[in-house]
Assembly symmetry: C2
Homo-oligomer: 226 residues x 2
Amino acid sequence: MVYGTPAPDALDPAKTGPANTGPAADGRTDRVADMPRQALTPDDWAMAALDALARGGVAAVSIEALARELGATRGSFYWHFPNRDAVLTAALHLWERRATDEIIAAAEREPDPRRRLRRLLHDAVTVDPVPGLEPSIAAHAGHPAVAPVLRRVTTRRIDFLARCYAGLGATPALARRQAVLAYAAYLGWMDLRHTAEADVPETAEGGRVAARALAHFVDTLAGPAD
Amino acid sequence: MVYGTPAPDALDPAKTGPANTGPAADGRTDRVADMPRQALTPDDWAMAALDALARGGVAAVSIEALARELGATRGSFYWHFPNRDAVLTAALHLWERRATDEIIAAAEREPDPRRRLRRLLHDAVTVDPVPGLEPSIAAHAGHPAVAPVLRRVTTRRIDFLARCYAGLGATPALARRQAVLAYAAYLGWMDLRHTAEADVPETAEGGRVAARALAHFVDTLAGPAD
DNA sequence: GGAGGACCGTACACCGGTGTATGGAACCGG
DNA sequence: CCGGTTCCATACACCGGTGTACGGTCCTCC
């Protein structure tokens, strides 16, 4: 269900064996792959769930897949969480904190309203801790575990954007419309990045075309620098 | 796996029974629910697959779910398709034709470049045959069955948008950047609609706020009417 | 240094989905 | 009327994921 990394899983020796204590020479890249390994925390499982969520959607957040990713078994999981839904909501709450509070707090430290808005848009598009997470969560808006978190995140972000536009002198109604448009452009930008990174280099993470496209993005939505 | 309609499935009498020929008094709304029913076509299955795809992603496109939705059994499915992947690709090809060719063809009938661009953006956001389909497909960009179709659709749409902007006098590079931004705004707009229709009434299908937000959307991305 | 708790592996029953094999009803043309 | 084709239902084997029960291994604290 991950379909992003077909090869490494296909040629595991013989079920990876119970090689828990020991070198554990598997092909994983997220773990130290050496020594008895530190005990797993609920956040470890939640982070792995976010990764799986970004790749294959809600259905890909399976306990077995997370356990494989972390080099553990489901026995470990059921000590930290009562069931599958628990890790899903934990992951979404983790995302809610990281993807909303931190970006907004960073922008709020900028006093000048125009620079604040430009910085917000720039940072939102630039930093992307878990590639593909935003589109994946948005695609499962109807899921009972996703819906409440997604609603809170969406309203908070749009409200903050609207306050930024209002700080630039727009009327409340206009600021609101500008905020919705800017947020839509942000969502679509993240969509395009992991949808067609090869065909739309404008939304990629680095390079000249990306820099100029990003400048156009910010200039159009937040106005020129000064 | 549909989680959009929890109630109707929960209280089925006793597995719905083999009530095929006959009144078949189930709660479905898509079928005539009367008489022996016309024979199913591959497109019927593909349409049901698009619906499931829009609601629960690729994982929700299960043969059993489609059969339940169509009031048939899997025996019917395996006469029309060799396996599950076949109906998935068939559904995606159906989407590729409907969601790209028709909208572009409608816009190309408009001679005036500015009106053409405005009409294109307006129509793209207004007509939404299968709500939630676009975000759901975009979220599974890494899936082997989705990737090629999604790449073609994305490049075709952006290229057409770029030609529209070029027709307005923009240089090729600027037209390209404007096209990417406009397409990102479109994608995010569709995201927002089915993500938080209650909290973001601007992206809803009707109403005063929606109309004014849509006007702002078109004016900002395509320039004023004249 | 021994008891208890934290943490994890293993085994089992269960469920839903896939694919296949096969039978049967309806609808033709000869 | 009858054989063949079309379309669909049923039954079965199989697989992957979920929960649960239970056993084992550390680590800690008195």
